[in-house]
């Protein structure tokens, strides 16, 4: 197990044409916006996202970053502005968090169904009672808006994922929400390898403008009324394209590896083999701690979900093909959406529908509650074979 993790880290170190910097996740996001050459940036301050736009403002004012940045008066307006800018053909970037994302919810639908390749960063925090700490209920509540959602584990992941996000968005014309955990990622300084600009440019050429963007010389209207029959048709087309995202995202990840030397896909499987008895399914920063706990639990595997929307069912089923039927799946949810099951649990159950595998859901770390290795161990040590064990477990420290 150790060897697999070690290989990854070694690879990063060996990649050429990168500069190492110690960066927070938020700074990595700002850096990514710059090297992806976003041209229109708009945001509204909200903890714990604020440092992203502060970084960007600073880079722009120093002349390091050539982009237009507009300080809007609300997140609703932020998303409305980037919608307008994207429609004109600009590569746009924004970042928000919690209430801000919830406030912009209406616009998320519009952006998705206008098929705009918008990329936004969300630093996850919950809504109420008032809380500013790590949680994923804000972004997971946006699952049905038609955005691609990718969850990041660390600062390097944030940087790399944003580059891939533009790639996939502009390829399939869907917006992408890149999610990072509040504080555990957003405010954690760590090593980040920043690719040199030319390398990024080779991978991510400037945005191509299409028929579906504004062309002043060929006037059209966008986003008007559509009759029932046609509304149905347009949604069908949307759905057909959404079905292509998982494969395309894996290809984008593979191409990324060719360019930058770091491997990415819709999911990451760690220590999953025929002998694996339990698999922890995680999103973002908890994954790192789980990786650590796995070192001393060789029969426990880890399935990290990077692409949360659309849920990568095909990739997951493929990984689980080699696993024994008795292997138990445990989804760890850092979100509560007013329902019995957490979002990750729901998605996994959906993906596994019709199979006979045992699936459990665990709520852990809501509202920034810390999830140390002991908590992960506690999860692993639950007696899932006991008939007393309930399907959904709210874990304590």
């Amino acid at each position: 197990m150790k060897s697999e993790l070690a290989i990854k880290i070694t690879k990063v170190k060996e990649v050429k044409r990168h500069t190492k910097k110690v960066l927070k996740g938020n700074t990595a996001a700002a850096e990514a916006a710059k090297i992806c050459k976003a041209t229109f940036i708009s945001a509204y301050p909200i903890t714990p996202q604020t440092t992203i736009i502060e970084e960007i403002a600073s880079m722009i004012s120093k002349g390091e970053f050539d982009a237009v940045s507009v300080n809007m008066e609300s997140e609703h307006s932020v998303f409305a502005a980037i919608k307008g800018a994207a429609l004109v053909g600009e590569r746009v970037f924004t970042a928000t968090s919690g209430q801000g994302l919830l406030y912009a919810h209406e616009v998320l639908h519009a952006i998705a169904h206008l098929r705009l390749p918008v990329v936004a960063c969300n630093v996850g925090r919950p809504s109420y009672p008032w809380n500013i700490w790590c949680d994923q209920s804000d972004s997971l509540a946006q699952r049905d808006t038609g955005w691609i959602q990718i969850y990041c584990e660390n600062s390097q992941d944030v940087l790399d994922t944003l580059i891939q996000a533009y790639k996939i968005s502009e390829k399939l014309l869907f917006p992408t929400l890149v999610v990072l955990d509040a504080f555990y990622v957003s405010h954690t300084n760590e090593n980040v390898y920043i690719p040199e600009q030319k390398l990024v440019d080779e991978y991510l050429p400037p945005r191509m403008v299409s028929d579906t963007d504004i062309d002043i010389d060929h006037p059209k209207a966008f986003g008007g009324l559509v009759a029932p029959e046609l509304y149905d048709k347009f949604n069908r087309l949307f759905w057909q394209d959404m079905n292509k995202v998982e494969d395309a995202f894996n290809i984008v990840g593979a191409e990324f590896e060719t360019h930058f030397g770091r491997s990415y896909g819709a999911i990451e499987a760690v220590n999953i083999h025929a002998g694996t008895k339990k698999i922890l399914i995680t999103l973002s920063s908890i994954t790192t701690t789980a990786r650590g706990v796995l070192q001393s639990n060789p029969d426990v595997g880890l399935l990290k979900i990077r692409l949360m929307k659309p849920f990568p069912k095909k990739s997951i089923l493929k990984v689980l093909e080699k696993v024994n039927k008795d292997c138990i799946l445990i989804a760890i949810d850092r979100n509560y959406l007013g329902d019995n099951e957490g979002a990750l649990m729901q998605e996994i159950k959906r993906a596994m529908y019709g199979g006979s595998r045992k699936i459990f859901g665990v709520y852990a770390g809501l509202g920034g509650r810390d999830v140390p290795p002991t908590t992960i161990e506690k999860i692993i040590n639950i007696d899932f074979n006991s008939p007393e064990t309930e399907e959904i477990i709210w874990i304590d420290k």
């Binding site: 507009v70 307006s77 307008g84 004109v88 504004i214 002043i216 209207a221 008007g224």
Partner: protein
């Protein structure tokens, strides 16, 4: 003898077939706006009657680019469009918001204020017909006191918001009122607004036969009466310098305007003197205040 120059539109920049009611102020307004603005304009339209009038799929009433956007977000979307066009060197293409009173006075006020305060290079035009007409005549904060709407079936009990006051407080380069009965004046103001940069705002008093409850043929006459009674004075302010662009020739009581519209007819079923007197007083006070602003 009048001549051909009386035809204010040389080439239509709208297509016929608009999905507007008979005698609609919106479609008339847009004819004149598009005539001045030209085809290389981007119109940003929040939810309002015009979102429908402009055309269901796959039609576009305007010979120009139209971005339909969310109710609350017209000025914000326009901001994004404006900066992006500028970045692409298309500085000459105007960005024009076409919003109703709901999207301006109410739900869109925040984004309007934001854009005005940032002095975005946008022309914002509010077609004020004094209620949510697209959804079937519900009160907005632009609805005049006393008017019947489906959400104030006994008549609205509060005053209409002084949006021009709010706009003035943003100290933008240009703002003006205009009426569809005074098309030369409207055209001049549109041309002036077009020639300036920064945030510009036009408030149009717009007739609405089904909403205000009168025969469609009366649209222009009622609009004119609103101006002639000083209920809706025509003025403009460039860099804060106010000018009145039409002085009524004779004083007409504001009740004459109200009597023409079914939405006020209940007021006249009993003695409306008291209410009309207070309305008249307010109209007179506002006019005096406007005169004072001009003199400053």
């Amino acid at each position: 003898m009048k001549t051909e120059s009386n035809f204010l539109i040389k080439e239509e920049n709208v297509f016929c077939g608009a999905l507007s009611c008979r005698g609609c102020g919106w479609s008339l307004l847009v004819r004149h706006i598009s005539n001045v603005m030209g085809t290389k304009t981007v119109y940003v339209v929040p939810a309002c009657c015009f979102s429908i009038i402009a055309g269901p799929y796959p039609m576009n009433m305007l010979k120009g680019t139209v971005v339909h956007t969310l109710f609350a977000a017209a000025a914000a979307t326009a901001t994004g469009v404006r900066h992006s066009l500028d970045r692409q060197g298309k500085k000459k293409s105007a960005v024009v918001v076409l919003a109703g009173d709901g999207g301006t006075f109410d739900i869109g006020l925040q984004s309007l204020s934001g854009a005005a305060a940032r002095n975005e290079n946008i022309l914002y035009i509010c077609n004020n017909n004094g209620a949510y007409m697209n959804t079937g005549v519900q009160s907005s904060t632009a609805t005049p006191m006393g008017a019947i709407t489906t959400t104030n079936p006994s008549g609205k009990t509060s005053n209409a918001k002084d949006l021009m006051g709010i706009i003035a407080a943003h100290k933008i380069p240009y703002f003006a009122t205009a009426s569809l009965a005074f098309l030369d004046d409207l055209k001049k103001k549109l041309e002036k607004a077009k020639s300036l940069s920064g945030f510009r705002f036009l408030m149009i008093d717009s007739p609405c036969p089904p909403g205000h409850k009168y025969a469609p043929e009366m649209s222009i006459e009622i609009s004119r009466l609103a101006v002639e009674t000083n209920y809706f004075p025509l003025f403009e302010a460039e860099d804060g310098d106010y000018e009145i662009t039409h002085f009524p020739k004779k004083k007409i009581a504001v009740s004459e305007l109200f009597k023409q519209q079914g939405r006020f007819s209940h007021l006249f079923k009993t003695d409306a003197t008291k209410l009309m007197n207070s309305y008249q007083k307010e109209v007179d006070t506002e006019w005096e205040a406007l005169l004072e602003k001009v003199e400053k």
